[in-house]
Symmetry: C2
């Protein structure tokens, strides 16, 4: 009875804010928590930039709808859902993720929520709870499940620690340097191979 | 951010033990907790009967693999997964449910586990935890989700109570008599209509 808790951005699809920056050609939207570690400051800044550039939620949803999962991601996810119970955990928002759910087999995705004003601008964001990914793992463990967590970045390390088994998927260099604990897999083939050995246990 | 927690037997598919009784022609396997309220006694009795009749797990899996969801169930589930996050909660067992997962879009199903001996007989069962359905609802609520629970029988009433919104789907008469609290829907069309009004809230 194993649940796979899978990060979304960087594991199945590219980083959403980077894609928004690219398509809107607004360089400042490329900044992440690696550049501005205060998440609240970063998010408020992003929302301010969007408003200044007259970019509404529906414009962003159009960009996201065209995003493609990484090559091989959907085949991998299809294999994964057949062999495990899969729940996707992300710090992103329902309003961003909804256009992608069909591609992801409508598997459950635990997200956060955006607040939209009447004109259609994003006015704020709302976290379900602090450290949502880690808490999800903790509570699923309390239900008697064995949890395998897969992530790629800083905001995944806590959930990987909390899981019974944690794997880093194709992480950026600074994470590779910092990580002393988790096995690293570079591609879906290796990830599948690794998980097959876990099924047998 | 609403999660639908959906019971399986009686809501999407017929009762599994009743089907096993029918196909093996062993009347005693029809008994449920309504006839023998002590679940442990009931289960041990079922496993004893199976062994006495030389029925192994693989024989039961063959019966289950041929089971069909109720008419309209899959269309309903398909609509449901597009509009909500869906997790199926059942007191049944992975080894029973696995042959049905494809039909159910490989959505996550929280089950219990059977212990199988070397000869392939079911030797025991293992609950993940006591009151698993209710606990699942409780912990998902603690993650900040609003939970809608749908069930049909005695063993669902606790989870319906725990949920933010509980619905009884086509329950047996004795449940209808006992129930003073939950709305009752008789078919998928009414259930969909009811849930649509919940989406709007």
């Amino acid at each position: 009875m194993k649940i796979i808790c899978l990060d979304l951005e960087g594991v199945l699809i590219p980083e959403i804010w980077r894609e928004i920056a690219k398509k809107t050609k607004i360089e400042d939207l490329k900044l992440t928590t690696r550049d501005l570690p205060d998440y609240d400051f970063l998010m408020k800044r992003r929302l301010k930039i969007l408003r200044e550039n007259n970019i509404k939620l529906k414009d962003i949803q159009k960009i996201i709808k065209k995003m493609k999962p990484f090559k091989g991601a959907i085949n991998f996810l299809n294999w994964l859902r057949k062999n495990f119970l899969v729940i996707i955990l992300t710090d992103s928002f329902y309003q961003f993720i909804n256009p992608l759910r069909e591609k992801l087999f409508y598997l459950p995705i635990f997200c956060n929520q955006l607040k939209i004003d009447k004109a259609g601008f994003i006015k704020n964001y709302q976290l379900r709870l602090k450290g949502g990914k880690k808490e999800a793992i903790k509570l699923l463990k309390a239900l008697g499940f064995e949890i395998i967590a897969i992530g790629d970045s800083y905001n995944d390390l806590e959930m990987l620690k909390e899981a019974d088994f944690g794997l880093l998927f194709n992480p950026p260099k600074n994470i590779i340097k910092k990580n002393l604990k988790f096995e690293i897999v570079k591609n879906y083939q290796d990830l599948k191979f690794k998980l097959k050995s876990v099924i047998k246990k």
